[in-house]
């Protein structure tokens, strides 16, 4: 028997007759290590981001107190007298994110419900690629659209609005994140098993009642997770807000005013010729660190909700 032959070979030589040559074994090990190294690059990226942001931020906070940074209401690092209160930038980012969410969350969820529950397959075949195209359009194009199409429209409705305003930016950022909400929420709705819907119909519920009282609640963790991811994306969005919202850091909740977001500030500094190593240069790392922490915690929260509150069926 082959089995007996090989096992006796193993017994005699201590090596399987089919065992690999030393060279081949080294090659296998080498390949494995090289592949692991590729994976490790992603870890290095994260470490790099954190180290770079922390390193320069430490330099920043040596000169500016954390108290001033987090509670100050004036942000004027690029001209005298310098003020380093980050709140106006945070408020600007929030204003845009809230405005974008008011548009994108209902529209995105409704699209997801239509696509997952109602749309005939022919409509899905047309609508899904359109959403994918919308998701793939570069953000600078949305910025152009905001400035040359949305802003003039807003200025017609509200005369006296400036060329740069938060509303225009919020609207295009909203459009930008609709596909994300729609496709992630649709996945969540799809994951709800048929049997739940059929049980609901069996109780005499209409399709509308089934969708709103059974399917959507069952998919709620996925829907909320998609909302959080989309808002985090809106906060991190850069080019559209740089072009449309302006460059005047302001603590306001009036969407018709010009504001500045955290991301737009970072772009503004890097477009100018701020010398390396100065306090002005370091502000972009402090703002970047804050932006990184905010978006990272939202992403982690989104994944936590998805895992922790997921209803597991079957």
């Amino acid at each position: 028997m082959a089995d007996a032959a090989t096992s006796s070979a193993v017994a005699q030589t201590g090596r399987h007759t089919l065992a690999l040559s030393a060279a081949r074994r080294w090659k296998e090990r080498g390949v494995r290590s090289a592949l692991f190294a590729c994976g490790a690059v992603s870890i290095l990226t994260t470490v790099g981001i954190v180290l770079v942001l922390l390193w320069e931020s430490v330099g920043f906070f040596r000169e500016v107190s954390a108290w001033e940074f987090f509670t100050g209401t004036k942000w004027t690092p690029l001209f005298k007298p310098q003020n380093f209160g980050v709140l106006p930038l945070v408020a600007g980012s929030l204003l845009v994110a809230v405005g974008a969410s008011i548009i994108a969350l209902p529209v995105g969820l409704a699209s997801a419900i239509y696509l997952a529950e109602y749309a005939p397959s022919r409509a899905r075949k047309i609508l899904k690629p359109i959403l994918e195209i919308l998701a793939g359009i570069p953000t600078v194009v949305y910025g152009y659209f905001a400035l040359t199409f949305i802003t003039p429209l807003i200025r017609q409705i509200f005369p006296g609005t400036g060329v740069f305003n938060a509303a225009s930016a919020a609207i295009v950022v909203g459009v930008m994140i609709v596909p994300m909400v729609a496709s992630l929420s649709e996945d969540a709705l799809h994951a709800v098993p048929r049997s739940l819907r059929e049980a609901s119909y069996g109780l005499g519920a209409t399709k509308f009642e089934t969708v709103t009282r059974v399917v959507v609640p069952a998919a709620l963790s996925g829907i909320v997770a998609s909302f959080i991811l989309a808002i985090s994306r809106a906060i991190g969005e850069t080019m559209a807000v740089t072009l449309a919202a302006g460059a005047t850091p302001k603590l306001t909740f009036n969407p018709l005013e010009s504001i500045q977001t955290m991301t737009a500030y970072v772009v503004q500094v890097s477009l100018g010729d701020t010398p390396f190593g100065t306090i002005e240069y370091r502000t972009i790392f402090a703002v970047g660190l804050l932006l990184f922490i905010i978006t990272l915690s939202m992403n982690i929260a989104s994944r936590f909700i998805l895992r922790r509150f997921r209803e597991v069926y079957e």
Binding site: L20, E28, V31, G48, V141, L147, F149, T212, S270
Partner: protein, 296 residues
């Protein structure tokens, strides 16, 4: 007459069927209208850009350098810069991304290190692109002294799209049935031989599709390249990866940010070129995906 509302187990049911059906109809149309918002906006955006930019599109536009005079300005340097950058982004991110995907799918043991790797990749996918720009500025431009070069820009973009490349390659590799691997082991091939000769060739079209889609993301990125200082006024095309450069989205940003209408038309024309490039990459990816489906 029966009561029009009945309470069953605490839940109030409205038994009037017409009213309930009407509510459902209104809801359906509301959802349909919301979906159409996306379609209408895409149409408005495309029409707006085509109307603004079509008149500026010409061979001269593709073949001229930027200029202070809108009627003479073109996108030659931006076009070449984009091609250089995308090529190097691909060269850097392809081996790293596919390597990481092979490791995660085929080698990684189920332990804490693997979980850290996967969580980390998921988190990196959500990091705002401008933060990658800050990283690129500090590491590639400053620490590694690459300056404001094509290579520094490509390395930054490569890190940016790495999570997308890894995740899509993982899916392509996972789609190869286990029986293929078992057949390889059955004829005495080692793990790497099996991967190299059996699994990867089958996964390759899928990997390539993901790679093209990731590069189409890189083509449109603006913020990280502004961060590393890809200049906006460049009147030459790069000759080596260490030359300074500009890219299409930055040129578009620059023109859009100017107040004159003439430059806005140029920006629209630039956007048309950018969108055509993006759509053809997407079309290529879809064709590849469909060919893959036919073969298995």
């Amino acid at each position: 007459m029966m009561a029009t509302r009945e309470a069953v187990a605490g839940v109030v049911f409205d038994v009037q069927p017409e009213r309930r059906r009407l509510k459902g109809q209104i809801f359906l149309w509301a959802c349909f209208a919301a979906t159409c918002v996306a379609v209408v906006l895409l149409a408005v955006l495309l029409v707006d850009i085509l109307r603004q930019g079509a008149t500026r599109l010409s061979v001269d536009f593709l073949n001229s350098y930027p200029s202070r005079f809108p009627e003479r300005a073109g996108i030659k340097s931006a076009l070449f810069g984009t091609m250089w950058t995308v090529a190097f982004t691909g060269l850097i991110s392809f081996p790293l991304g596919v390597g990481a995907a092979i490791y995660l799918e085929e080698y990684a043991p189920r332990n804490w290190l693997t979980r850290v790797l996967e969580t980390n990749i998921a988190n990196l996918a959500g990091v705002p692109s401008i933060v990658y720009g800050v990283l690129g500025l500090a590491v590639f431009v400053r620490a590694m002294s690459l300056g404001r070069s094509v290579l520094a820009g490509a390395a930054t973009l490569a890190l940016l799209i790495l999570p997308i490349v890894i995740i899509s390659s993982q899916e392509a590799i996972r789609a190869v049935p286990p029986s293929i691997r078992e057949a390889g082991y059955g004829v005495g091939a080692t793990k790497w031989q099996t991967l190299q000769h059996l699994v990867l060739p089958i996964a390759f079209p899928g990997v390539l599709t993901g790679m093209i889609l990731a590069l189409s993301r890189a083509i449109g990125e603006t913020a990280p390249l502004i961060m590393i200082g890809a200049l906006t006024f460049i009147a030459f095309t790069p000759n080596t990866p260490l030359d300074e450069f500009t890219v299409l989205p930055i040129q578009i940003f620059n023109w859009t940010a100017r107040p004159q209408a003439g430059f806005h038309e140029l920006a629209a024309a630039g956007i048309i070129v950018l969108l055509v490039a993006l759509l053809s990459m997407n079309a290529l990816a879809i064709i590849l995906r469909n060919r893959l489906r036919k073969e298995i």
